[in-house]
């Protein structure tokens, strides 16, 4: 110990006296403060960390270089032989260097963390969930620096040839966020999904370019710790093997070490390979952007017809969110007509393990796509209770694991009477179908999972919630906060507490706008909105803001750190939210989109008070695609509609849009002729 401490001291002396050390440290700190400052300034507090990949990548190169340099110090100063003859000299030296590496990494990371704290104070940002910030620094800064530093040392111990620098450079790329570019090319080339490999070796952040998800928080899943654990174990073992090699009793110690290493890495690797939900945002096949989209592109049809004569009356749930979602429940049913089967909609990656009656009799069931088919005969008005258990990974859009839960009521995470398919694929994005729940359902939820849970049910005990609602069940747990205002209970990401100060105002506006649109389109008036969730739900269309969704008394608003709350952008989102039903989702997307854009245009014309930051979307698109031959059909539609809207007054247009919305909300699929017919009708009426 003394020797290690002593060599640590000397290593420090040596490093301290190199101007390089200070230069690199200064560079690192100034780059970090610059980056953090910019991010804080634009209100992206979480993003300040998750987009720090290039800093980390730089740090990885520095660590590799430092590790390499430090073990070659003796070689460079011709003192290597000497330390080789001192009792345990090399071992003490290497351990001293390792300690210094760790201390320097710690120092750099502490500086960065301190900067973060400083800026948090400076920008009056809230301090909630600061432990997550520290965890992030540990997982994505400190451990990576240590791992690559040790790799640098190993390289230095193996070779000190010129080629070593090239090797370090390649290792730096392989082990950092830069490896994405490498594996992207490789994946394309070999047409195989190599991203899991890339993720495994990447000790930095895996998706540095996507905006921070304020509900999900920093990517701190258990799997990421396991990955770092495996790598750390591997490099430490390699390093110790190299130290032990200096010893004559090498083989004995080496043997024991190998066995220990083998055992612990097997455990870690098997834990790592355990099926669980890790959120990757961009490129991988199971990423948020790709997974559901790819699935629903191929699976758009239900296997069994939807049950019509059975209703769910109650759910008594045990929900566990840990590396995935596990639910066991007592499900209350009532038949409105005789039936021998019940068909539920349930997201396909939630695998049912058992279905029983209350008496314990196992019922046969089948899962196909998003459907769960249970053989169970019910007479008219018969009530039944089923015991159902299932577990698996939820959709990447609607995650549930040890780090966060976001299960909105309109997503089929509970076996419910739904559309038979959970979502519809539309141009590389998905639109979840609503759940059919016309009658009140009684819910009781026992929850064990991360962080405080937010749901609209009443809290009975520490982990038990209960209530009756027609609104479905929404569970949210993450870095969230709750605010109860006069009009509604608002649940929102805590990192957005500053940007969401005007949330109430926003909610009011949405309410006003939606009731107005509802009136115009003569849609049934809605129950008052009592719960508002600001969540990281995705837009349902790439063409316009579509981040708002209603269930009966609940409103969901999709937000991220970079969300801009522009009134103009609210119009399409609210319009879609108002007209949306399962038929609207089933319509050809271009028909829905055309309606939304036309309505948006008209709304803006009819409400000159709304601040126009830009031209209405319809005109913007027209400017953009005017001369694009591929968009010719679309442009013709635009022009026809614009001409039509110019020649009709508001009363006529109201009736036009009302009829159009009605058509969209009905079962028949619309086409251009239908829209033309609607226009002709108004023309004829004139």
């Amino acid at each position: 110990m003394r020797r290690i401490y002593q060599s640590l001291k000397v290593e420090w002396l040596l490093v301290k006296r190199r101007p390089w050390t200070w230069l690199v440290l200064l560079l690192f700190i100034s780059a970090t403060s610059f980056h953090f400052f910019l991010r804080f300034k634009e209100g992206s507090v979480g993003g300040a960390l998750t987009s720090s990949a290039f800093l980390v990548q730089g740090g990885l190169f520095v660590s590799l270089g430092f590790g390499y340099y430090s073990v070659n110090l003796e070689k460079a100063s011709s003192a290597e032989e000497l330390f080789g003859t001192l009792p345990y000299g090399k071992q003490a030296k290497i351990l001293g260097k390792l300690s210094l590496l760790i201390l320097l990494a710690l120092f750099a990371v502490c500086c960065a963390a301190l900067l973060y704290v400083l800026l948090t104070v400076m920008f009056h940002e809230p301090f909630f969930y600061f432990s997550h910030v520290l965890e992030y620094f540990l997982l994505y800064w400190f451990l990576p620096f240590c791992i690559t530093g040790i790799i640098g040392m190993i390289v230095g111990l193996v070779t000190s040839s010129r080629g070593a620098y090239l090797g370090l450079l390649l290792l730096g790329i392989l082990m950092g966020p830069l490896n994405m570019a490498l594996f992207e090319t490789l994946s394309l080339w070999l047409s195989r999904d190599l991203y899991p490999v890339a993720h495994f070796f990447n000790v930095g952040q895996t998706d540095p370019n996507t905006p921070f998800d304020p509900v999900y928080g920093y990517p701190l899943e258990i799997k990421r710790y396991l990955q770092k654990g495996i790598l750390l174990l591997l490099v430490l073992w390699l390093l110790f093997a190299m130290i032990l090699k200096q010893q004559r009793s090498f083989y004995k110690v080496f043997g024991i070490g190998s066995v220990l290493f083998g055992l612990s890495s097997t455990v870690l690797i098997s834990l790592y390979r355990h099926d669980d939900q890790v959120i990757y945002t961009a490129l991988e096949q199971n990423s948020v952007k790709k997974y559901d989209s790819r699935y629903y592109e191929k699976h758009s049809q239900a296997t069994w017809p939807t049950t019509k004569n059975v209703q769910v009356t109650s759910y008594d749930l045990n929900v566990t969110a840990y590396r995935g979602l596990a639910v066991s429940m007592k499900l209350g049913l009532r038949a409105t007509a005789p039936s021998n089967e019940v068909v539920f909609t349930l997201y396909h990656d939630l695998h049912v393990t058992s279905v029983k009656t209350v008496t314990g009799q196992a019922l046969s069931f089948q899962q196909s796509g998003d459907q769960l088919h249970i053989h169970h005969s019910l007479k008219k008005h018969e009530q039944a209770t089923l015991l159902i258990s299932y577990a698996g990974t939820s959709s990447p859009y609607f995650f549930a694991n040890e780090q966060a839960v976001m299960l909105p009521s309109y997503f089929a995470w509970l076996p419910s009477i739904g559309e038979g398919v959970a979502m519809k694929w539309v141009e590389n994005s998905v639109r979840p179908y609503p759940i059919h729940a016309q009658q009140p359902i009684h819910y009781k939820v026992r929850y064990s999972g991360p962080l405080p849970l937010y749901t609209s049910l009443k809290k009975q005990q520490e982990t038990v919630w209960e209530g009756t609602t027609t609104d479905g069940l929404t569970l949210v747990a993450g870095m969230m906060k709750e605010r109860v205002t006069q009009s509604a209970r608002i649940v929102y990401p805590s990192t957005l507490s500053k940007t969401l100060t005007h949330a109430e105002d926003y909610v009011k506006k949405v309410k006003r706008m939606s009731s107005e649109i509802r009136k115009v389109l003569k849609l049934p008036t809605k129950a008052a909105i009592t719960d508002v969730y600001f969540l990281s739900i995705a837009d349902e269309s790439p063409h316009y803001a579509s981040n708002i969704r209603f269930t009966r008394g609940t409103m969901f608003v999709g937000v991220n750190e970079l969300s801009l709350y522009v009134d103009q952008a609210m119009i399409p989102a609210v319009t879609l939210a108002v007209i949306r039903n399962e038929q609207v989702i089933k319509q050809p997307p271009e028909m829905t989109d055309l309606f939304i854009l036309s309505y948006d245009y008209w709304y803006e014309q009819a409400h000159p008070a709304i601040k126009q930051e830009e031209k209405p979307l319809l005109l913007r698109n027209l400017d953009l695609y005017q001369d694009d031959p591929e968009q010719a059909v679309l442009m013709k539609r635009y022009k026809t509609l614009l001409a039509f809207m110019k020649h009709h007054d508001n009363r006529e247009l109201q009736s036009f849009f009302r009829a159009w919305a009605q058509s969209l909300r009905s079962e028949k699929a619309m086409n251009d002729q239908d829209v033309q017919a609607l226009m002709n009708r108004e023309d004829g009426a004139n």
Binding site: V10, L13, A79, E81, L82, T85
Partner: protein, 287 residues
């Protein structure tokens, strides 16, 4: 005091034998290891200092065998052939560091002060290594080697690259070490051995070709060394034919010494000096 016993040590690098069955018995005092470059001196020293493992053979010193390198490391002090230390660190700092590394716990400062005095570097103790001359660095090297008063001190080519003045000072320093320890000095410079050592071994191509006292070596050669004189022209003619081991140019004539088993015309028997004896030995070994 114990003797250092080197028993049939062989060291092969792939097929090449850098050392071939070396057996030596080394008593306390100054022991010289003489041989041309590439003879295997450094290899032997690195084996003695446990940096490399021999391919075959054993080494013991009293109860300690070289099978337990950590025990050996407590015994030895080593000044490697190409030696320097961290450039940016002061003499005292580095010596204190090495003292700790050697496991010295108490009286470290005193020990460092003592060795600095022994090598006469007290005045430079706060200088960084990069500010010292080659000779001073070498003396720091000795200082660190003797820090923990080792029983065996191994010094590889200590005088190479030093200027004559430093070399003489350094030899004096080495000589003093022999009083209390077994000191093994390797060199390819005969003069070093002459002024430092009591006994020596001569290595050539991995073999010991001589092992004994300085006197024995000169006596060995005594019968076969002759001295002759010739004009410049005659001398250059003779170079190719005769085995000339030394020559001197005086008064426009060459006086030179020749190795020959047969008497030569015009030559007279002389007692060779150590260098000549060494040359003689190397010549003999060639045959």
């Amino acid at each position: 005091m114990s003797e250092l016993l080197i028993d049939t040590i062989t060291k092969s690098y792939k097929k090449y034998k850098a050392l071939d069955q070396i057996t030596l018995q080394i008593s306390p005092g100054m022991f010289g290891l003489l041989g041309p470059n590439g003879a295997g001196k450094t290899t032997l020293m690195r084996i003695l200092t446990t940096i490399v493992e021999p391919t075959a053979g054993t080494i013991t010193f009293g109860d300690v065998t070289w099978k337990q390198p950590e025990a050996v490391r407590q015994l030895i002090g080593y000044l490697p052939q190409k030696f320097s230390l961290y450039k940016h660190i002061t003499v005292t700092e580095v010596l204190t560091h090495i003292a700790t590394m050697k496991g010295m716990t108490r009286r470290k400062e005193q020990a460092v002060a003592d060795v600095l005095e022994k090598v006469n570097l007290q005045d430079h103790r706060h200088k960084k290594i990069k500010e010292l001359s080659g000779g001073m660095v070498r003396r720091v090297g000795i200082a660190q080697a003797i820090l923990h008063s080792p029983k065996i001190i191994v010094v590889d080519e200590p005088t190479a690259g030093l200027d004559p003045q430093e070399r003489i000072r350094f030899r004096k320093l080495l000589r003093q070490l022999g009083k209390e320890a077994t000191v093994i000095v390797s060199t390819h410079i005969v003069e070093d051995i002459e002024s430092i050592c009591d006994t020596l071994a001569v290595l050539k191509k991995g073999h010991v070709i001589f092992n004994g006292s300085l006197q024995t070596l000169t006596e060995m050669a005594a019968n076969d060394v002759w001295e002759m004189e010739a004009s410049k022209e005659a001398f250059f003619d003779a170079i190719d034919e005769l085995d000339i081991i030394s020559s001197k140019y005086e008064n426009h004539r060459y006086r030179y010494r020749v190795v020959s088993t047969n008497p030569l015309p015009g030559a007279k028997h002389v007692t060779p000096n150590l260098e000549e004896a060494y040359m003689y030995l190397m010549g003999q070994a060639q045959r």
